[in-house]
């Protein structure tokens, strides 16, 4: 019996070690149901106060690992392999993570293609601010400031200082927020952040209304607040260049069961929604963050001369060629063909010589054919497909284009017949002249 249990333990251990590399891959659509997510919380109460959000993740197949943020055994990776596919930080006040996690390891985690949900709150620690700043979201520097909106607040019995905001200024993107429109406003209580407009990787998903501002509600406003109006972002998402996705929210309460269930009435509006938009908003955006939507892959890049099947190593100028690529989108459990009519291929050498829309057959196969320009050089087939919310596709495949070979030119040119005639008649004439001159005495 004891022996059996040991054997069982060993086999479990072996299975685990075998599975470990699989478990620790970043976004791995091949085994989506085994994604592990580390949830760092300040205090185990959050596990229960935010259970609806966690439940929705778990029902979608994620394996959540709740740990206290200052747990001394925390580790993101072991033996060079990441233990988790995603990270949720619901610990706004943590000054220092336990174990081996710190700012740098979290950023490395993101830079190696893993996803992150970061929720801050009033009095967010420097560490949380730093993580957000590294991702491009700058929280208001005043630690006591919260977002206040005297016109867009949610009507409620208890909240008198208008810090519970009913936000309804969403980013217009079906990919990020789902195709179903969020009808009810989203309740938000927390701090605002600003984004650098030059930063192309970060998107404002929920912005504050134009009359919101960020300040400490308990003190008198002596100087104009640094963050005002719709420049304040309440919730932002970042898609890094390696397609890692990050959600930055200034409010931890936004994810809480209380606000999920709460009704909402926006100040100045007569409609009262029975249920706030939080649940839908947060669920949809978490789907996006964990790559259940908007993740594209391009495979099977093929090109060949028209009428041939093998890919040549080099093209000749003015060859006719066919180019095809298959593009699929991840739906959460398998790849389905991506259908769009705006995918373009460039035939590129320092600048695009040819820019063509790819036509698709509805099954993910995009193809086109064109004629190689009359310019030789080292070209590239380039696809640079960047659409809001989608992972960016950038493929480039180098292919040299050579000029004609010496025997590929026309043998006889019609326009040159007078020249042929003149040279041959000259030769004949010279021959006759020589004979006549030499032998005619």
């Amino acid at each position: 019996m004891a022996k059996d249990s040991i054997m069982a333990k060993v086999s479990v251990y072996l299975t685990l070690t075998c599975l470990l590399p699989l478990l620790c891959n970043s976004f791995s659509p091949e085994n989506p149901k085994s994604q592990r997510i580390l949830v760092l919380i300040d205090d185990f109460a959050i596990k229960y106060s935010h259970s609806l959000f966690f439940k929705s993740l778990q029902t979608r197949g994620y394996d959540l690992d709740f740990r206290l943020a200052d747990d001394s055994k925390l580790a993101l990776q072991r033996y060079g392999q990441y233990l988790y596919d995603g990270l949720i930080i619901f610990a706004p006040s943590v000054e220092k993570f336990g174990g081996s996690i710190d700012l740098a390891t979290i950023l490395d985690f993101v830079d190696s293609g893993h996803d992150l949900i970061l929720a801050a709150d009033v009095g967010a620690s420097d560490l949380v601010r730093d993580i957000a700043a590294e991702c491009g979201a700058d929280f208001d520097e005043d630690p006591a400031a919260v977002v206040i909106d005297h016109s867009g607040y949610a009507v409620s019995a208890t909240d008198g200082d208008h810090t519970l905001i009913a936000g309804d200024d969403f980013l217009q993107s079906d990919v990020i927020l789902g195709s179903k429109k969020t009808e009810a406003p989203v309740l938000f209580r927390g701090i605002g952040h600003s984004l650098n407009p030059a930063n192309s990787l970060v998107l404002k998903v929920l912005s504050a209304s134009p009359c919101a501002y960020s300040a400490n509600p308990k003190t008198k406003l002596s100087s104009p607040p640094s963050l005002i109006g719709s420049a304040i972002s309440l919730v932002s998402v970042v898609q890094a260049r390696n397609n890692a996705r990050i959600l930055v929210s200034g409010s931890l309460d936004m994810f809480s069961n209380r606000l999920f269930r709460s009704g909402v009435q926006k100040a100045g509006s007569s409609t009262k929604h029975e249920k706030s938009g939080n649940e839908q908003f947060v669920t949809e955006i978490s789907k996006w963050v964990f790559h259940e939507r908007g993740h594209l892959k391009a495979v099977n890049v093929k090109h060949q001369k028209v009428g041939e099947t093998n890919e040549p190593a080099i093209y000749r100028i003015t060859d006719d060629l066919e180019y095809s690529v298959e593009i699929y989108e991840w739906t959460g459990d398998d790849w389905k063909p991506y259908v769009a009519d705006d995918v373009q291929v460039q035939f590129y050498m320092m600048s695009p010589y040819i820019l063509k829309n790819l036509s698709n057959d509805g099954k993910g196969l995009y193809s086109t054919s064109f004629r190689v320009p009359d310019v030789y050089g080292v070209f590239q087939f380039k696809i640079a497909y960047q659409r809001l919310g989608y992972t960016s596709l950038s493929l480039s495949k180098q292919i040299p284009v050579r000029p004609f070979r010496h025997n590929e030119y026309e043998r006889f040119i019609t326009a040159a017949y007078p020249y042929y005639g003149s040279s041959f008649s000259m030769m004949a004439g010279f021959f006759i002249f020589s004979i006549v001159y030499l032998y005619n005495k």
């Binding site: 970060v202 260049r241 070209f379 040299p400």
Partner: protein, 774 residues
């Protein structure tokens, strides 16, 4: 008796020639003995790579070779832009040896091609000089050219460059031209055209031939030396030569379109007009002839005017007036420095200094004038040609140090003539007077008909009987009556006087002179051997230096290229200044942006601009060219003077020529180029400075640059867009990798607590400063 002596002399000449060949070959082997059997410098690496391709893929693939590993992303049509002569020569030698089951590697064949062709070149020089002044002069000239330093510098073993075979082709073409001119044989004329074809295949310097020969023909016509032999020597060369030349892909229609070739066509027309005039003159009576002349002249002038007008219109439509940049810089030495910095930037395109003349042709520089004088006594068609050759080549060598190479054979021929004449006279004096001393008689030298007095007194020169026969044969068909009569009269009058006028030098004087000439010769030999062994044998990819603790070998270049070959992806692109392009493609087998074939100025200017820009714009330029690695050559640690910092001003100039935001004065402090603390901020921030001196201060703690002999201006700095991936043992080559763009874009907030605090406090301070009364 005389025939026996002739036979003996011939056998001796053959042996001497063989020895000269051996000498020419073996004096060029110092580089192999001192270093190793390796390809030298820059261009030879390209030729070597092309030869490898040829031997691997055959001639048709070579002809149609589109190389996608250079000039990324433009690529280069190698088959159509390369002079194939050298490659085909070495390729055929390799193929021939392999078919004889002599399995030499391509590299070995390439290394030894130049020495072999130097032997051929000395034999060709012998033939040419023999045609001009006889066997003695020929042998002397051949011995001189076998070891002239100027030629050695371009043809040591391993210096696998076009010039290696081109000098042979040049001299041999001249020989065949003179041979045709002397014999009037159509056979030699055809050979001449073929030899010219080989020259066209081998080197862009063929334009020298196609301009020099027309000049000589024109000279002959103007000085009344027109003859059918001249016509036969010239007309087939132009027609056949031009047809053949246009078969070479790199020349193509240039053979009839560019201004370099116009002289030959113009002279071709002139020689026909002259031939017609001579023919008509022979047919018509003098009176009718005069009428005909006026007729022809008027019509001819009209036709000429039309042709000239058409030509001028054609030529003026091209911005460079139909001349290539290099040719223009030959005609106007200041042209390149004014308009084409890329030509001016090459050190071998600079005008030479007098020491370089002394270094490269040594005592020949003093013997050449004597040779010219000897050529005028008497002036034949052949000797006028070599005079013309030396005069033009002296001019060209004065413009470009590289063309010293064209001067060298001319100088050797002239010096050979001079030395041989001098020895002839002096030994004859000794020979005539020795018996006098012994027996008191002076009647031994019947078959050596002239003496030293000829130099001052008469046209009858020391010539072998065979030569004289040739000479008279040459004179016979000359149609210029007046001249010929005069010469005949002179000859006739001089002949009886010869015996009396056998002016000989005093015995002692001639003995001393012989001794001095031998000393001069030995000095020349010593100098040549020294030059071959010390000055010109370094392969420049391996450097050595002697110091108190022995010999140091700097093999950094190969170290760096080997690193690239083994540690980078096959399709990675490496950017460097164009000097290192050929070596990178040949040794590291990586794609380069620009290389030593400087055909696209804009592309080179792009790289120059990147090198002279600050890091971020430089990164953007390189990234747009898909560059992965940047290679810089840095000599500051070991004192290697031809590094990129010393070449940097050319990068600025070439870059600024195309992209005007790069301005040379920005890099100069008061007109001085410096990298110390006085250097301008632009200089200290440009990519080249940063890549060269990154971490340099760690070597000695001070950052002392041993080439510029100063401490560098900016010692501690970090690179933001580049990372160092490899630096060779002596820091001579440093390789950097472009960092990928940041995965995330950071926000504005400072990263750490303390810095955010400090920034806060500083912002507070600045606000208080702004509002002191608040």
């Amino acid at each position: 008796m005389a025939t026996l002596r002739d036979a003996f002399g011939n056998v001796l000449s053959v042996f001497i020639l063989i020895l000269i060949g051996v000498l020419a070959f073996s004096i060029r082997l110092f580089s192999v003995i001192k270093y190793e059997s390796v390809i030298h410098e820059f261009d030879p690496y390209f030729n070597y790579r092309v030869t490898q391709f040829l031997t691997k893929n055959g001639i048709y693939d070579f002809w149609n070779w589109f190389d996608d590993r250079t000039w990324y992303p433009l690529g280069r049509v190698i088959g159509g832009t390369v002079y194939p002569g050298l490659t085909l020569t070495a390729g055929s030698i390799w193929w021939f040896l392999n078919s004889l089951n002599i399995p030499l590697s391509v590299e070995t064949v390439c290394v030894f091609t130049a020495p072999i062709f130097s032997a051929f070149a000395s034999w060709a020089t012998y033939l040419l000089t023999k045609e001009v002044k006889g066997v003695g002069a020929g042998l002397t000239a051949a011995a001189l050219i076998a070891m002239v330093p100027s030629y050695i510098s371009r043809s040591v073993a391993g210096s696998y460059d076009n010039e290696a075979v081109a000098i042979f082709a040049l001299v041999f073409t001249f020989y065949l031209y003179i041979k045709t001119l002397n014999t009037g044989s159509l056979f030699y004329a055809t050979l001449n055209a073929l030899s010219y074809f080989y020259m066209v295949c081998s080197w862009g310097g063929y334009t020298f031939i196609i301009n020099l020969i027309p000049m000589h023909v024109l000279l002959c016509i103007v000085t009344g030396r027109y003859s059918p032999r001249l016509y036969i020597a010239y007309a087939p060369l132009v027609i056949l030569g031009t047809l053949l030349a246009s078969l070479v892909p790199v020349v193509g229609f240039n053979a009839v379109l560019t201004s370099e070739h116009f002289a030959s066509f113009l002279v071709f027309i002139i020689i026909h007009v002259v031939a017609l005039v001579y023919y008509i003159k022979g047919v018509l009576s003098p009176k009718l002839f005069k009428v005909a002349v006026t007729l022809v002249v008027s019509i001819g002038m009209a036709v000429c005017c039309m042709v000239v007008a058409v030509l001028v219109a054609l030529v003026a439509s091209s911005p460079t007036k139909g001349w290539s940049g290099r040719s223009l810089s030959l005609l106007d030495p200041t042209y390149a420095s004014k308009y084409i910095p890329i030509i001016a930037s090459v050190s071998e395109h600079q005008p030479p200094t007098w020491p370089s003349y002394f270094m490269d042709i040594n005592v020949l520089a003093f013997l050449v004038p004597a040779g010219i004088i000897a050529c005028f006594l008497p002036l034949s068609d052949a000797s006028s040609f070599v005079v013309l050759y030396i005069v033009t080549s002296v001019y060209f060598s004065g413009v470009m140090v590289r063309l010293m190479l064209v001067l060298a054979p001319a100088a050797c021929i002239m010096s050979g003539i001079a030395l041989s004449e001098a020895f002839d006279v002096l030994t004859r004096s000794v020979k005539l007077q020795l018996p006098e001393l012994v027996e008191g008689t002076a009647s031994t030298a019947e078959d050596t008909p002239s003496g030293y007095g000829s130099v001052q007194n008469e046209a009858a020169k020391s010539e072998s009987s065979l030569e004289k026969l040739d000479d008279s044969l040459r004179e016979r068909p000359s149609r210029k009556h007046r001249k010929k009569e005069k010469e005949n009269v002179e000859k006739a009058s001089s002949k009886p006087r010869k015996e009396k006028r056998l002016l000989v030098l005093p015995l002692v004087a001639s003995a001393v002179a012989i001794f001095l000439l031998i000393m001069l010769g030995s000095f020349y030999v010593v100098h040549c051997v020294w030059a071959a062994a010390e000055a010109y044998s370094a392969p420049s990819i391996v450097l050595t230096s002697h110091s108190h603790d022995g010999l140091h070998v700097f093999d950094d270049f190969r170290e760096a290229y080997a690193w690239l070959r083994h540690n980078t992806e096959v399709d990675d692109k490496v950017a460097s200044w164009w000097d290192y392009g050929y070596q990178t493609t040949a040794m590291a087998n990586r794609t380069v942006i620009v290389d030593n074939n400087t055909w696209n100025n804009t592309h080179i200017a792009t790289v120059g601009t990147a090198m002279s820009s600050p890091e971020k714009p430089a990164w953007e330029i390189f990234n747009s060219l898909d560059v992965k690695y940047v290679l810089v050559v840095f000599g500051g640690l070991v004192g290697y003077p031809s590094d990129d910092i010393n070449k940097f001003l050319w990068m600025v100039r070439i870059g600024g020529g195309v992209f005007p935001h790069i301005k040379e004065p920005d890099y100069l402090r008061d007109g001085q180029y410096r990298i110390d603390s006085q250097a301008t901020p632009t200089m200290l921030n440009c990519l080249m400075y940063r890549l060269s001196y990154y971490r340099f201060v760690e070597t000695d703690g001070k950052g002392f640059d041993r080439v510029r002999r100063t401490e560098i201006g900016k010692k501690y700095f970090k690179l933001t867009h580049f990372e160092e991936v490899f630096t060779t043992h002596h820091w001579m080559v440093r390789i950097y990798k472009l960092k990928p763009p940041k995965n995330r874009i950071r926000g504005k907030t400072k990263k750490s607590k303390s810095s955010s605090k400090s920034s806060k406090s500083s912002s507070i301070k600045s606000t208080t400063r702004r509002n002191p009364w608040h």
